[in-house]
């Protein structure tokens, strides 16, 4: 993908795929084609129950989770192979009592460490210790700016005050803060107030993350998807605010692609810049990859991370452009959007090799827009909250794929 030029000296890189350029004297494990980012889902345990959770419907249990030593080894390997940033996520990563040791290992390995937390169970002593261990950045999610609605969405009474306290603590300790705003039809009216909140808390960055419809969010789509008009309105508003606030607040936006014309370059291309490790140690090209049932995934308990990245079947399944069918195969944008999202193609069309239906060139695109508009026009149904009790019934029956346009 093409990096964004800023001023001729700098490029903002989202992914990296530069071939090895005569590396000398470096550790033989270093790999120029290594991913730049690693998403480490340390646990699926979470005090919140948000209905748009990106975790799979089949949540992994505590007794399946990797041990401290296994996570430490992952961090060692990640730094050695050339990964630059690690995102410690979940579930709720602070549910792991050994988070401090994992952060230490990541930091020693040279990784930029980012904690992605709901913050409701994070205490001052714990955060102070994490900072000592080398934590670089904290991202806190707010389910809404209105406390009552936020606590209904996350199903956690008292969450908002706890989040505010931790957010202030993060800046007090000198760490950069990102506010994550998961946006959907039940809070989209509050996008302007999220910006005010981020400014008030002294955040460096605000992530206006329109919900992406995978996992629990796919199941709850009708309760979540905003109308086309709401979506466009909020995007235009954020773009104006971004210009007004440059140098003060970085606003990143993830837009909902059901109303898009071009698909997103999902993960910057499959197996190109990112990898994801589940609580049990499965290594995935993206967090939703397990919805593609014919893929099998290697585990860090059995194989080295670099070997999995370079050689595993799952990572090679949709790498590059060889796997593509038409209209992707001959498309001028094939190395820009990489055909969009494989998981969305799977969910909507039943074939992961199809063009992402978010693309206007997909024969399924029109049907998907009709579906989205129809769902958004109705009253939202109740949430199916994300919790282990709902997991088994949520995982079946399989939703039926759409039928393409004639």
């Amino acid at each position: 993908m093409s990096p964004t030029k800023t001023n001729g000296h700098f490029e903002t890189l989202v992914v990296d795929d530069e071939p090895t350029a005569g590396v000398s004297g470096a550790s033989p494990a270093l790999c120029a084609r290594a991913p730049v980012g690693l998403l480490a889902e340390l646990t699926h345990r979470c005090p919140l129950q948000c209905s748009y959770c990106s975790n799979p419907l089949e949540l992994e249990r505590v007794n399946q989770e990797l041990t401290t030593a296994e996570w430490v080894s992952v961090m060692d390997q990640a730094g050695a192979m050339g990964i630059l940033q690690v995102h410690l996520s979940g579930g709720e990563p602070t549910a792991r009592k050994d988070l401090e040791d994992i952060v230490s290992a990541a930091s020693k390995s040279g990784l930029y460490t980012n904690l992605i937390t709901a913050a409701v169970t994070l205490t001052r002593p714990r955060l102070e210790e994490l900072v000592k261990r080398g934590l670089d950045h904290v991202q806190i999610s707010f389910q809404d700016v209105d406390a009552e609605n936020a606590e209904r969405i996350g199903a956690y009474p008292g969450a908002t005050q706890k989040k505010l306290d931790v957010a202030r603590l993060v800046t007090e300790l000198g760490l950069p803060l990102t506010i994550n705003a998961p946006i959907h039809r039940q809070n989209i009216h509050n996008v302007p107030r999220y910006i005010e909140l981020a400014l008030k808390l002294g955040a460096q960055r605000l992530e206006v993350a329109h919900v992406q419809y995978y996992g629990w969010a796919y199941l709850n789509r009708a309760a979540l998807i905003p109308t086309y008009e709401q979506t466009v309105g909020s995007i235009e508003f954020v773009e104006r605010e971004r210009e007004r606030l440059k140098g003060v607040l970085t606003i990143d936006m993830v837009v909902p692609d059901y109303y898009a014309k071009r698909p997103k370059p999902c993960m910057g291309g499959w197996g190109k810049g990112f990898m994801n490790i589940t609580p049990a140690g499965k290594v995935l090209p993206c967090h939703a990859a397990e919805t593609i049932k014919h893929l099998s995934f290697d585990n860090v308990k059995d194989r080295k991370l670099l070997d999995i990245w370079l050689n595993s079947d799952a990572f090679n399944a949709f790498r590059g452009t060889e796997w593509m069918k038409e209209p992707c195969r001959s498309c001028a944008f094939r190395e820009i959007d990489w055909g969009g999202c494989r998981c969305q193609a799977m969910a909507i069309t039943g074939d992961a090799r199809n063009t992402d239906p978010a693309c206007a060139l997909s024969p399924y695109h029109g049907e998907m827009v009709v579906l989205a508009r129809a769902e958004a026009a109705k009253e939202p149904p109740s949430f199916v909250y994300r919790n282990p009790r709902n997991a088994p019934s949520a995982a079946k029956p399989e939703p039926r794929p759409l039928v393409p346009a004639e």
Binding site: H9, G22, S27, A32, P176, R244
Partner: protein, 100 residues
Amino acid sequence: MAEGTSPGRLIVTQEARPYLPAYLKLRHDAGRGRWVLLAPERILTPDETAVAVLKLCDGKRSVEEITEALAKDYAAPIEVIRKDVLELLQGLADKGYIKA
């Protein structure tokens, strides 16, 4: 939007004494043979000149002193270097990557 109207936007001048906030890490990326500036959920790849500038951004030197130091090492007119340094630092300040 007109320049400088953002609330709290840092305008980099010759007198400013820029520094990288603690959470930014300038690091050599040996595997890819380049320098990277690691930021919250961002990776920037400064070129050789930008790295030279960033290494001088210690919060003590002014932009003018940085320009003079670079003028000794690079065979370019000082006006050109000054303009480049100001542009570079303003661009970074607008992304929140430089404080002064």
